[in-house]
Amino acid sequence: MVLVNGMVTLFLAGGLFFTLVGSIGLLRFPDFYTRLHATGKCDTLGTSLILIGLIIHHLFHYSGTPLVPVRLLFLVFFIFIANPAATHALMKAAYEVGVKPWKLGDERR
């Protein structure tokens, strides 16, 4: 049981690391495209790692109801498809409207 708790804690710590790094990238990067580059991948991986850790927690601690975390598995699947698609749609819309990409030496915007 200690091993399972340690594995769940490891998954949660990895997910929190990626989530916080994505948020810091959203704050610190100089451009719209670079900000989406930071968050579009870090958020997907971070949320998916947290959900996978919680699935492991459920399977070992509440073993009487093994059908409940199927919802969480579907949620991981949906996030892996939907979040990059939304990021791509937003970035394509910004490119069509005419937001200029940032080059070295420009102002932050």
């Binding site: 704050l27 919680l54 409940v68 949620l75 394509k92 937001v99």
Partner: protein, 88 residues
């Protein structure tokens, strides 16, 4: 395990506040929409963590619904900003 869930929820709320800076002060519409999308994705993880903290699995259904609404909202907003109208 319960205290680990509480600490994780607090760290996710801290990340949400970091993103909220970009959602409020970000220059232009696109930065704000991207920040709102990020906040919605973090909220899914926060809802599932709250569901395990209070031991109520009803929160998983709310998280599923929130994921779908977040995705569709971002897509509709991107289409509206690209074309200037929704139905055409």
């Amino acid at each position: 395990m319960i205290s680990i869930f509480l600490i994780s929820s607090m760290l996710i709320i801290f990340a949400i506040f970091l993103s909220l800076y970009r959602a409020i002060l970000g220059p232009g519409v696109f930065n704000r929409v991207a920040a709102v999308n990020v906040i919605g994705t973090k909220t899914i993880a926060l809802l599932v963590l709250i569901g395990y903290y209070t031991e109520r699995p009803e929160f998983f259904d709310i998280a599923l619904l929130y994921a779908m609404l977040n995705f569709i909202g971002t897509l509709v907003f991107a289409r509206y900003l690209e074309r200037g109208e929704l139905w055409s």
